[in-house]
Point group: D2
Chain length 160, copies 4
């Protein structure tokens, strides 16, 4: 479970958690960072009715959003100081309905680059000892150096 990546930013842990804390949508859905190592991030969400689809499972869109966030912060943990992160691409395959009381998304960076970071990520819906592997996906994150994470972009900035 331990990572082989060397973070460029020695403060990566604080930087990632600070960025995560500034995402209102993550607190809206009750998401929390459960594990953070260089290039690895795991995010947990507890089941509540407001997060479900018509069959009572975690909504697939929410599962995707949480997994995307895990992939984003796995990448962001490896970025240089004074940079920010944007998802440019995500590919997700749903393997099983996300049935369970805990949603667990885990992402690991596969490749770093000057601009693009590629992650592999999975989500699991868990109930007691049962773990439903509900999603596997690939995510591409862009590293925007020199763009601080804590202020808004101007209107005409593009994602890439």
């Amino acid at each position: 479970m331990s990572s082989s990546f060397q973070p460029l930013n020695p403060d990566f842990d604080a930087v990632v958690r600070d960025s995560f804390a500034r995402q209102p949508f993550m607190s809206e859905v009750g998401a929390r960072i459960a594990l953070l190592e260089p290039g690895i991030c795991e995010i947990h969400v507890d089941m509540r009715k407001g997060l479900t689809q018509q069959h009572g499972f975690f909504h697939g869109g929410l599962v995707t959003a949480i997994t995307d966030s895990a992939a984003g912060y796995a990448s962001y943990s490896l970025y240089p100081e004074n940079s920010t992160v944007l998802t440019v691409d995500l590919n997700v395959k749903f393997l099983k309905p996300a049935q369970g009381s805990l949603l667990r998304a885990r992402a690991e960076v596969v490749k770093t680059g000057k601009t693009l970071y590629i992650s592999r990520a999975d989500a699991f819906a868990e109930e007691g000892e049962a773990s439903n592997h509900c999603l596997t996906g690939l995510f591409s994150m862009m590293c925007l150096p020199g763009k601080p994470d804590h202020i808004n972009f101007g209107r005409n900035d593009s994602a890439a």
Copy 2:
């Protein structure tokens, strides 16, 4: 804007809206069906802080979730009676930050099949006359005939 698909279920409009209304996550985020024709669905969401990421835009995961929902209901509008819909695969490319006061996701079915329905979908974040094309994607939905949409699946049912 009018569709060339013939719906199998004459009650498709009521069936889709009823299913949408039973997705607690959609009401949680304030999503509403703004357009529904056979094979086409458009969903709108108003900006509020709880739906944003750290730069003040609609969260990319939320944008994906809403677009996925539009693709799901575009497909579901063409399904036979007494069936349900599950996303099996989504591919999303983010084109611009989702900056605006209204999020508009629009999906159109590209291909119907016995089992799989393929849709193309886009999302736009709009502010006055400005429209930011923030996402384009491809979605695969599975048609599960004989599985009613309004009851829960059993634990071991798989998505496919």
Copy 3:
């Protein structure tokens, strides 16, 4: 069918065709550029047995390769001088078997950026008046400015 993009390189037509001509795999399979406008590229391939899979259709991998090439050159037509192109990501959905005597792949750029160019592309297998829409996909191309297209990269260069 005419494009709304303004090419950065006035010699884009010659530059694209020269690069295409230096791809041995394209001539190996008999591919030719059938249409080239700024941000749009169409590539054609005639059926022959060596390009088929076990059912006698164009092999899906070949269809993907040709469509990827169309997307690459649609993007490359918009690049600045003295740059090269690499695919970073492709998402392809197969809609129908690629049955026909002519394979036609057509790509259009959806978005340009500093680094990434996103295209939408489709492939059709045609026989007389019948046209089988066999593939739809999304492609991300990287623009590598200052990297000439006609010499080899060093071993450790990464795609991104």
Copy 4:
């Protein structure tokens, strides 16, 4: 490296190799099955100029085609008798240029279903002891039971 899947067809090895041998495109490019276990398939291709792009690497489209084939036969190894396989969806991320004298694509099935089989696959371009991890991807294969693999489909059959 050994697989945990139980094949439904005890003759899976002969059935897969027979289908592979009937793909003219695979012999055209010199592809061979280097490893086959239930749910796992590895395909190798030797470098030759006809398989390259403009920088002298294996063409990305060819790398995708070979990896797709590995994913298809990993899935097909788990299918019941008297069935055939079609790719319905592929998502590929290119990690590095495919530089080397041997291309090695390896796929493993992640999930089996009634209709869809999901695989994860990677490709490596190798030169002596150096191995360039050039592609990672996710693939969805459809199982078509009752459709023999060795005869052509009719014109109007769809992939799904």
